[in-house]
């Protein structure tokens, strides 16, 4: 690396060249692997799609379209595009160093990482997210949702403990589930939708500047802005994506061993306490880097952006046709009672296309719930284990696989206890705090990204100015809207 743009690189005697970033251990220089030769190798984006395509896409946005009209969808376009750029920037640090963004934050300022550690525990240990999918399953089979949720929790734990390499198993399972979801939603939309529904939904995406006055009320403002913020992956999901990139061996992640399941924990390779850097002064290495950037850009725009759009458009078309079939649906959806609204939508489909279609709709809601649960439990445990292993003194006595299993079974046990005896979403007294933390974390990760990518990476691979402007806009948007909503209307984003 040239000293002109890289003063922190030192050559330690004749032995090893390293890249010093922040106060933590320096990163040795290693060769960057080749980028995948062809685009049909699907990447770790499946995790982000699995986590991101949730209730926002299948329920919240269709709801907003029914209340404010299809023109409101331009805000969704902005929200998802912003998330695609965040995804590219998260990938920059993870692929260049093989470290998670949490380690990047620790290199800048350690308390920043501890903030994310604590936030993850506070926000993600409550099993409330299981209720939507499990309730939909109850509608089809009659099995009480708490039973389904508890069984699902135990099955997830056993599955991840028995798998030899957790990432490979999960990537395959999620890829099949998402594939089925995508072909399935396309088939359903083709049966229940019409040309007019699709035209208005697509046209609404480009109605830039449309802001209905009813939106600026204490009841709707937090919901609309919350839906923009949570379009695609929300909370800390983008940060976990850096761990999945590393596990898939993307970029310098290839130099870090994969996490193994509990059954084969003994075969776990030694996890280094630092990432690696490649020689950014070598044109051949930089050409490989551009290959990796192209690979992740394809992932971000065709797979992540495209599939998120497709699922939301399909569900919006479904909601519109349900409201046409049965005018009660519109009232129920607008009223905000989620389970009543979903049931009414299912009934509307049953009357339009036969009873099967009504059940099928619930089947898809259950499938979306299952995808999100699988992704969430793995991501949470992976993130907490990574921070614990690398930054808590003495934690290296344990294997990373054991820490992963500890967090996984911890959150599963807590989840089952809460499902049986407590409030699934968390105690009502702290619900607002949890919602606040979830949006605050998104603003905080934008700031973290700007700091990490612009100070901890060698100059040739730092972000371009326009990318910094977009991420800066994200930080101002997430934090600004959160505090505006709090001070103007006295409520947090919904």
């Amino acid at each position: 690396m040239a000293d002109s743009h890289n003063p922190q690189v030192v050559v330690a005697g004749e032995e090893e060249r390293v890249w010093r970033a922040g106060g933590l251990e320096p990163m040795p220089i290693r060769p960057l692997p080749e980028a995948p030769p062809s685009i049909h190798l699907l990447g770790p984006t499946v995790f982000l799609v699995a986590l991101g395509v949730g209730m926002g896409e299948s329920y919240m946005w269709p709801r907003l379209v029914l209340v404010f009209g299809p023109e409101i969808r331009w805000l969704f376009l902005i929200g998802v595009t912003l998330q695609a750029v965040v995804m590219l920037e998260m990938a920059r640090y993870a692929m260049a160093t093989g470290e998670s963004i949490f380690s990047g934050a620790a290199r800048v300022f350690k308390p920043l990482m501890w903030f994310f550690f604590v936030t993850a525990i506070l926000v993600y240990i409550w099993p409330g997210h299981l209720s939507a999918g499990a309730s939909a399953f109850e509608e089809i089979t009659g099995i009480p949702w708490v039973v389904t949720a508890c069984v699902a929790l135990i099955l997830v734990g056993i599955l991840f403990s028995l798998a030899s390499v957790i990432y490979d198993l999960l990537e395959n399972v999620l890829a099949i589930l998402i594939g089925v979801l995508v072909v399935g939603t396309a088939v359903i939309a083709s049966i229940v939708g019409s040309w007019a529904d699709l035209a208005s939904t697509l046209g609404g995406m480009f109605a830039f500047g449309y802001l209905p006055s009813e939106m600026f009320s204490s009841s709707w403002f937090p919901i609309v802005v919350g839906s923009i913020a949570f379009a695609g992956p929300s909370g800390m999901q983008q940060m976990w994506y850096t761990l999945h990139l590393r596990e898939s061996g993307a970029g310098m992640g290839a130099h870090v061993p994969k996490i193994r399941g509990l059954r084969s924990a003994k075969e776990q390779g030694e996890i280094p306490s630092h990432g690696y850097m490649f020689d950014t002064d070598d044109p051949a290495e930089m050409a490989k880097w551009r290959g990796w950037r192209k690979w992740v850009t394809f992932d971000a725009f065709l797979l992540f952006w495209g599939i998120t759009m497709l699922v939301t458009i399909s569900f919006t078309v479904l909601a519109q046709s349900a409201a046409r079939e049965n005018p009660n649906v519109k009232g129920l959806i607008e009223g905000g009672d989620r389970s009543a609204a979903l049931e009414a939508m299912s009934d509307a489909f049953a009357s339009a296309g036969g009873p099967v279609l009504g059940s099928l709709f619930f089947g898809f809601i259950a499938l979306i719930g299952l995808n999100a649960t699988l992704g969430l439990f793995d991501s949470f445990s992976r993130g907490q284990a990574d921070m614990t292993y690398n930054h808590i003194p003495g934690a290296k006595r344990f294997r990373l696989s054991h820490l992963y299993a500890g967090f996984l079974w911890g959150v599963i046990t807590f989840g089952i206890l809460i499902l049986l005896f407590g409030p699934a979403d968390g105690p009502s007294g702290i619900l607002d705090i949890l919602a606040f933390l979830s949006s605050f974390a998104m603003g905080a990760y934008c700031v973290t990204l700007l700091l990490v990518n612009n100070t901890m990476l060698p100059k040739p691979i730092r972000p371009k100015w326009w990318s910094n402007v977009i991420i800066g806009f994200g930080a101002v948007f997430y934090l600004g809207m959160l505090f505006y909503s709090l001070f103007r209307f006295g409520v947090v984003l919904d």
Binding site: S38, V180, V356, L360
Partner: protein, 181 residues
């Protein structure tokens, strides 16, 4: 025997198309809906989509479409998906009510199905690319055609890899010569 071996190769497209089509019927069985209704809906959509899926795999095997490319799959389903849905509508109505008729405003119907087909094509390709290469690899032991198509996949990966290497070398030469200049 040769025909059987060829048919064996098209299994990935056949199964993806079939799964997409019979989802409705399968779910109906779970919730105890009338079997007749479920079967008709499943078969009238599942069979055409399965046959079309197998057709796509056959084109791939014979080298008529590019491996792993999105555009050929999108074009194929732009025609295939509306056709399958048209058959589904016409046959379901005919079997259940006895009357043979096209859907109302059939041109608008076909145009709408054409647009939705792009979404179907993404999902189809996504599943096909997951299932097909490992399936052919397994089949390659006793099916020479499967070995051929699997090697084609490997060869495709190698060619793309080498092309990238050459381009990279060219960029490297250009960079170093511009530095010297």
């Amino acid at each position: 025997m040769r025909l059987f071996r060829l048919a064996q190769l098209t299994f990935p497209g056949l199964i993806v198309g079939f799964i997409a089509g019979v989802l409705a019927g399968g779910l109906a069985a779970v919730v105890g809906q009338p079997t007749g209704w479920a079967l008709v809906s499943a078969l009238t959509l599942g069979v055409p989509l399965a046959l079309l899926g197998a057709g796509y795999t056959m084109l791939l095997v014979q080298g008529r479409v590019r491996l792993g490319g999105f555009a050929p799959a999108a074009l194929y389903w732009l025609i295939g998906f509306p056709l399958a849905r048209l058959l589904h509508e016409v046959l379901t109505r005919f079997i259940l009510t006895g009357e043979a008729a096209l859907p109302a405003e059939w041109l608008g119907f076909l145009a709408y199905q054409g647009i939705v087909s792009a979404g179907f094509a993404i999902g189809f390709l996504w599943l096909h690319e997951r299932i097909a290469p490992p399936y052919w690899q397994r089949l390659a032991v006793h099916n020479p055609d499967a070995r051929g198509v699997y090697l084609k996949y490997a060869e495709h990966a190698r060619i793309m890899f080498e092309a990238k290497q050459r381009r990279r070398a060219a960029i490297g030469r250009k960079t170093s010569s511009s530095r010297k200049g």
